[in-house]
């Protein structure tokens, strides 16, 4: 069974919306308590535009998702996740292989770094997305291993000191809390794995 973009999209959106309160609570500890609200707003707008998105070939659909996130999220995560989807749309062919996905996600991670002037270990979404991109290209990835890695990398942001984003205002006191963007990245990746595995 070929993976169905509609199902992937609904799955990810539903997961983010369902976990919005958790994401907001994480942001309340080390930020401005809006990451869940922002992501929910963004993915609700994506769902509202679903028919239009699904009418497009994959690359164009991904760009449309990215642009909706850019326009609707309202926080720093909007242009960053927007850049993720816009770059995937630019890099992926209509029928991508795992190798295509690894390459496109690597490009997206670089684009997010540039957009946010950030690097790995700054306690951001990059600390989940970067390792996952590398793992997708290392020839050993399984659904289970990708899920495990995403989870482990989100957890790994807990002891980090934030260098970028609002959490950096807390300096040392940002240590001991999971980064909300790392958690939302984990949620998206694990949900994609779940859905793809169900279609496999």
């Amino acid at each position: 069974m070929k993976p169905d973009l509609g199902r992937l999209l609904e799955g990810v959106a539903a997961r983010i919306i369902a976990q919005a309160e958790e994401l907001t609570a994480l942001d309340s500890a080390i930020g401005d308590a809006d990451h869940g609200l922002n992501m929910k707003r963004g993915f609700e707008a994506v769902l509202a535009d679903k028919a239009n998105i699904l009418a497009k070939p994959l690359p164009e659909a991904l760009k449309a998702i990215g642009m909706t996130l850019v326009m609707k999220v309202g926080g720093a995560s909007g242009p960053l996740y927007g850049t993720l989807f816009l770059t995937l749309g630019k890099e992926l062919p209509e029928d991508p292989t795992l190798a295509d996905l690894a390459r496109a996600l690597t490009a997206a991670v670089e684009a997010i770094k540039a957009r946010g002037k950030a690097d790995f270990d700054n306690k951001t979404m990059l600390d989940v997305l970067g390792p996952v991109a590398r793992h997708l290209g290392d020839g050993t990835a399984t659904f289970a291993s990708v899920r495990a890695l995403a989870h482990q990398r989100a957890e790994a942001t807990v002891p980090m000191k934030a260098i970028k984003g609002r959490a950096s205002f807390l300096g040392e006191r940002s240590i001991g809390h999971m980064d909300p963007g790392a958690r939302s990245s984990e949620l998206m990746i694990t949900t994609l794995c779940d859905e793809l595995e169900a279609c496999a």
Binding site: V70, G75, G78, P79, R115, K164, R166
Partner: protein
């Protein structure tokens, strides 16, 4: 007025943006194209790429536009907005690495005096912490 660099104020708070614009107007009157925005697409604290694009358009000047932002998301969303402009406009917009209120007043004062986009940016950015 359109022979002066335009000023755009992008705050997480529409109140901060409006009040900053009031302070700018008090210094420079209407000699400078000026626009402001604040709030996420729902109106809460945050920023909104569509509103930023509209503000850039309102304050457009062929001499260029200087954007003043407050915290991280305002900067990231403004950078995104700039990339969504026509290629011809993109090179004429700068985002100042300066405090939003103090920087806007300084930048507008420089713009009002006929400074170039680079002058305006430098004036705002020279602001040592206040």
């Amino acid at each position: 007025m359109k022979d002066k660099v335009g000023i755009v104020i992008v705050s997480h708070s529409i109140d901060v943006a409006r009040g900053t614009a009031d302070m700018v107007r008090q210094m420079v009157g209407d000699t400078v194209p000026l626009a402001y925005c604040g709030g996420n697409p729902e109106g809460g604290l945050g920023t909104d790429v569509a509103k930023i694009l509209k503000a850039i358009d309102e304050a457009w000047s062929d001499k260029g536009v200087a954007i003043l932002v407050d915290l991280g998301g305002a900067e990231t969303n403004s950078e995104m907005a700039v990339e969504l402009l026509d290629a011809g406009r993109q090179g004429k917009v700068v985002i100042c690495n300066a405090p939003i209120v103090e920087g806007a007043v300084m930048a507008a004062t420089e713009a009002s005096g006929g400074g170039s986009l680079e002058d305006v940016r430098r004036t705002a950015e020279e602001l040592s912490p206040q």
